[in-house]
């Protein structure tokens, strides 16, 4: 419940927030002590004008960067999840229903994906893609790439769960009944089986979102995420650590860290609650 309320709030922040805050790229050098590169005043320069303080070195408003960062974080996490769910459900249903060699091929490829050193691969892949490709360029390309990489490698988790569910569903009487009146494969898959899978799909996609958000933050942290000066939670954390700002301005690390923490916790709580309500036996 609490998770749901926070998610609604986060989604609102992501949608309307960027129009309410100041420009996240505006420099406020007058708020920075150049000798130490850190904001004047305690708590990372928190003031009425900058409720969460400002970034070290350049004095960009931290609230604005967190809020605009919410849009990227949630957006990428959500889109990647949609991609993972679509691929995962499609292959999961097919593998579970048809069985035999089709199941063997799909299940083994899911194993391959799960055993893949995903983070290393993602870093390498994003590293070699040029700044413009596939008719996209700059940040648009990066966002699409992140969505693709995260979503494409998350589908086996969804696929395995769906496959397991279908394995038990396909032996049920209503499937036999449909088959006996002459229904073909696609009809059974998407009209008979899919509606019965809504509950696990909802539950596990809700639980997949926070994993994807964390993964996006990790990629940003490692420097293969969004292009500066785009606000990003992971890059703020990375900046705080690699420059040693956590020592001279700990708020710069704590605030984006809290943002990631709250978001991930909210989605996990919500997903758990959803599971309890829709799928009590799914534990």
């Amino acid at each position: 419940m609490a998770g749901g309320i926070i998610i609604v709030f986060l989604v609102l922040v992501a949608i309307v927030g960027p129009y309410l805050v100041q420009n996240p790229d505006t420099y406020n050098s007058n708020l920075i002590n150049p000798t130490f590169s850190r904001p004047y005043g305690p708590w990372g320069g928190i003031s009425l004008a900058h409720p969460l303080g400002v970034e070290p070195v350049n004095g960009r408003d931290l609230l604005a960067r967190i809020v605009v960062g919410t849009r990227y974080s949630l957006g990428i996490g959500f889109l990647a999840t949609v991609l993972a769910v679509v691929i995962g459900v499609f292959f999961g249903i097919i593998a579970g229903y048809f069985g035999g060699w089709i199941d063997a091929v799909i299940a083994r490829s899911m194993d391959v994906f799960l055993a893949f050193p995903l983070l290393v691969f993602a870093i390498a892949l994003i590293g070699v893609i040029p700044n413009s490709a596939f008719g996209l360029s700059g940040n648009t390309l990066r966002v699409s790439l992140l969505v693709f990489v995260i979503g494409f490698f998350a589908w086996p988790y969804m696929g395995r769960i769906i496959r397991g569910q279908v394995l038990s569903l396909r032996e049920r009487e209503f499937v036999d009944a449909a088959r006996s009146i002459g229904a073909r494969g696609p009809y059974i898959l998407f009209r008979e089986l899919l509606p019965n899978l809504v509950a696990p799909i909802l539950v596990y996609s809700t639980l997949l979102i926070p994993t994807n958000i964390l993964f996006e933050a990790a990629l940003d942290y490692l420097g293969v995420g969004l292009i500066p000066p785009t606000p990003s939670w992971g890059q703020m954390l990375s900046n705080a650590v690699s420059n040693g700002f956590y020592y001279i301005d700990p708020m710069y690390m704590i605030i984006p860290g809290l943002a990631i923490f709250i978001t991930v916790l909210a989605f996990n709580l919500f997903g758990d609650g959803l599971r309890d309500a829709l799928d009590p036996r799914g534990h």
């Binding site: 150049p34 000798t35 292009i227 500066p228 000066p229 001279i248």
Partner: protein, 593 residues
């Protein structure tokens, strides 16, 4: 800790008559476990930046252990195989080239003086032969005499890049017989680029006149003698035969180097180095944060890499009056630049480049590089302050309008035919936090006049070979603005500017003339510096003109003259900033005792 206290006490007994009071205070505080007390024996009161232009703790006292720490590993301790500034600085303790830099404070340190040679090189009238005479009676650490053949052999072995891959390649590029494969592959071959008419004379034969040849000989340690009998190829770095005041006692690569005084070295032979500490320890491969903490705690006397402390230690040092007194913002023989490419539209128009110069926010750029102490001083020229020919001119109002002269920038944009600004690509090394901050500061500043930068981050390992230093790539990706820096191989106008703005230095990969400036006036000025018979002042005046001409072309936006915030232990003596390396002068530091 305990060891240093005891040594301090022992030395007090020796010099009791002169420094009794100082020593007694030193003794009492060192019993508390701190080495700071022993600093009291120095005669100068240390203050912030006092090591930049004066000698801190001048002393001729011998003894004690001096400890260096390095948050890195050397490219090689073999004098023929290193290009790192800190290694070149440190290896003057065991490797004496023909010429070396004069050990003195301020810009005087940029002066070349004889090392193993008796005087600077004498050039023949056609400019093609440089002759050096070697001091009589010099010895290796084992007592065997140093001859001209040992120096010739030292240079010969650097020709084999499969064994000696790190050092500079000036000799191969400048001397005759460039195809010589080196003594390892061709043990019986005769290298004709260098001749040794007798035991104490060595002659270098050039393909073309090279007025700065003394720097080629003196700025690196490749002319430090190497006895052929003791050469073990790539393993020679484990124990190079010392010609300086110290020799290797033990060396564990990636861990520790221990140096002890060389008994076959005398002060008379080499006036630029000192043999003070009875032992010098260099701890390698330390964690950067740990090194800073140990520096402040007194376990380590000097950070040998000399690139400055981390942000945490910077805050600790600069906010504590006591610690700040033991720190210097040392000018770092390096400038951070933004290159403006003359081939990428619309920056192919000089007015558009000048608009960038005017609109840049120098204060924000300085803060991005680390502020006035850890980053550097706002730069307006290509030559570094103190170099021959430097003058402090300011074509783009960086001093009067440090946050940017937007009126002038807009006027320049209008002249360029882009009154509303333009969009252009900008490259930087994304794994360098300060460079990332700098390009974002420039991006924010240029937005004010409508110039939009599309940032392209690249890995620093291949930045010059594949990206910013590859003109084709730069043109294809519309990279008009390229962030970078420059550290000259030797501190004069040629070392600083030739690679940056001379038209003949543009190459397809590893290009350093990143603006691709090929300006006839500047090219002919570089030609003029090679005329024989020019005085130092005349050469300096020409370099000053080149600097002004290149700045008028707005091909480089100088960010800062880099400074490194260095911490010197109060226990170290004779500490001062050494201009050619932008670090302390490791050849003269002693341990107070």
């Amino acid at each position: 800790m305990r060891r240093r206290s005891r040594l301090a006490f022992a030395a007090c007994a020796v010099t009791a008559g002169l420094t009794l009071a100082a020593c007694s205070s030193g003794g009492s505080s060192s019993s508390g476990g701190s080495s700071s007390g022993s600093s009291a024996s120095g005669s100068t009161t240390a203050a912030f930046n006092s090591g930049v232009n004066t000698v801190v703790n001048p002393s001729t006292t011998k003894g004690g252990t001096l400890t260096y720490g390095v948050a890195a590993t050397p490219d090689s301790f073999d004098p023929g195989n290193t290009y790192y500034a800190w290694v070149l600085n440190l290896n003057r303790l065991w490797a004496t080239p023909l010429l070396t830099y004069k050990s003195c404070t301020g810009g005087c340190g940029d002066t070349l003086v004889p090392g193993t040679a008796t005087s600077l090189g004498q050039v023949s009238s056609n400019g093609l032969t440089w002759t050096y005479h070697i001091k009589q009676g010099l010895k290796f650490e084992d007592g065997s005499p140093i001859t001209a053949q040992d120096i010739k052999y030292a240079v010969e072995r650097t020709y084999d890049r499969s064994v000696m891959e790190n050092g500079p390649t000036y000799f191969v590029n400048i001397l005759t017989d460039p195809k010589y494969p080196g003594p390892y592959k061709d043990p019986n071959g005769d290298f004709t680029g260098i001749t040794t008419p007798d035991q104490n004379t060595i002659q270098f034969h050039l393909q073309a006149p090279f007025p700065d040849f003394n720097y080629v000989v003196g700025a690196f340690s490749q002319t430090a003698p190497v006895p052929k009998a003791k050469d073990t190829g790539s393993n020679y770095q484990l124990h190079p035969q010392s010609t300086g005041p110290y020799m290797f006692q033990s060396y564990q690569p990636n861990k520790q180097l221990v140096l002890v005084p060389n008994p076959n070295w005398t002060q008379n032979e080499d006036t630029e180095a000192r043999q003070l500490a009875s032992k010098i320890v260099v701890n390698l491969n330390m964690n950067a944060q740990d090194l800073d903490n140990r520096l402040i705690a007194g376990d380590v006397d000097i950070d040998a890499q000399g690139i400055g402390v981390q942000a945490a230690a910077r805050a600790k040092i600069l906010s504590s009056p006591t610690l700040k007194n033991d720190a210097d913002a040392v000018p770092g023989n390096r400038a951070w630049f933004t290159y403006l490419n003359t081939k990428v539209a619309p920056l192919n128009n000089v007015n558009c480049r000048q608009a960038v110069e005017y609109a840049a926010n120098k204060t924000d750029l300085q803060t991005a590089w680390g502020g006035p102490y850890a980053g550097g001083q706002v730069a307006t020229t290509l030559l570094l302050p103190g170099m021959n020919g430097y003058s402090s001119f300011d074509l783009y109002n960086a001093k009067t309008a440090p946050t940017g002269d937007l009126t002038a920038a807009k006027a320049a944009l209008a002249k360029c035919g882009q009154p509303n600004g333009f969009t252009v690509g900008a490259s930087y090394r994304s794994d360098r936090p300060a460079e990332t901050a700098a390009i974002q500061a420039l991006q924010a500043a240029l937005t004010r006049v409508g110039i939009k930068l599309q940032l392209h981050g690249y890995p620093s390992g291949s930045y010059y070979s594949t990206f910013a230093g590859a003109p084709n790539y730069v043109h294809q990706h519309n990279l008009g603005i390229l962030q970078g820096g420059w550290s000259p191989d030797w501190p004069d106008g040629y070392g600083m500017m030739d690679e940056l703005v001379a038209g003949n230095t543009i190459v397809a990969t590893g290009n350093t003339n990143i603006g691709e400036l090929n300006d006839p006036t500047i090219n002919s000025l570089f030609q003029q510096t090679t005329k024989p018979g020019l005085t130092t002042a005349q050469v300096g005046a020409i370099y000053g003109q080149i600097d002004k001409a290149a700045m008028a072309q707005a091909v480089i936006l100088p960010n800062v003259y880099a400074t490194n915030l260095l911490y010197r232990s109060p226990a170290a003596t004779n500490v001062y900033a050494f201009a050619p390396y932008g670090e302390y002068n490791y050849a003269v530091i002693g341990a107070s005792s």
